[in-house]
Symmetry: C2
Subunit: 111 residues, 2 copies
Amino acid sequence: MISNDLLKGTLRTIVLKLLKENSRLYGYEITQKVEELSGGEIKLTFGALYPVLHKLEAEGYVVTEKEHNGKRVRIYYSLTPEGVSWAQSLVDEFEDFVLTMRLILQPLPAQ
Amino acid sequence: MISNDLLKGTLRTIVLKLLKENSRLYGYEITQKVEELSGGEIKLTFGALYPVLHKLEAEGYVVTEKEHNGKRVRIYYSLTPEGVSWAQSLVDEFEDFVLTMRLILQPLPAQ
DNA sequence: GCATTATGTATAATAAACTTATATATTTGT
DNA sequence: ACAAATATATAAGTTTATTATACATAATGC
C-alpha cells in the first residue's frame, strides 16, 4: 500500500484523470477503478472521495446526473470542458513534480 | 513552481535525503539546497521546515549540535542510524508511489 | 429463511500537515 | 545608516484526509 502522506494532494489528479478516460463514472466505481488500476496499492475512502467530488462540482469541473435503476440511485459524475483541461494540467503537473523531485532524490554520481 | 498540494507529504523525504547526502546541515542551508537542486521549483518555508526538523529529532531520526561562530548560533542537523535507513525507505517509497500513480495516469494504449 | 457480503451515497468529528504571519537577531554590502 | 541576506523559531489559521458513523439496496451462500 502506498503511504497516505504521498497520496495527499493527488486525489484530484486521480479523480479528474479517471473521469477524463471514462466519460462518466459514479463514486463507488471510481474507488473500484483506482484499486484495480493500482493493483490494490491505492484505496480511496469515501470520506475522502465524496467531499472532493462535491467540491469539483461546486467549482464547475464536473457535473452530475442521477440515474435510477430499480430503487437504487446512482450519481454519475462527468467532466465539463474546464474539467477536461484541468485534468490534463494536473497530470502534466504531476510529471513535472516527479522530475523535480528526482533532482533532489537522485543526485548524479558525478555531481 | 511545483504545486504545494503535490509537495505535501514529501517534506520528510526531501529533508532526510538531503541529510543523508550531506552528513550535516543547518536549517537555512536545507532551504538553500532544495531551491538550488530543484532549479528554483521547490521552496521550503521555515514554518514548514522547522516543525519537521524538531519532530524528526523528537522521534530519534536526527540529532543536533549547536555551533557558535561569533555571536551567531547555528544548529546542525544530522541523521542517526535510524534516520539513515528511514531516509532510504522514504526515497524507495516515493519511487513506488510514482510507478503506482503512473498505472492510473498513463494507461497503456492497448488497454 | 437468514446472514453475510457487496453495492451505493453521504456526513461529522478528529487529526495531521502545511501556509501565512509574525517575532527576533546578526552579518554583509553599499 | 540602510537594506539585503543570513539564521532560528512560534502561533494562528486553513486545508485536507482519516476514522467513525449513518442509511439503504441487491446478491449470494448456507
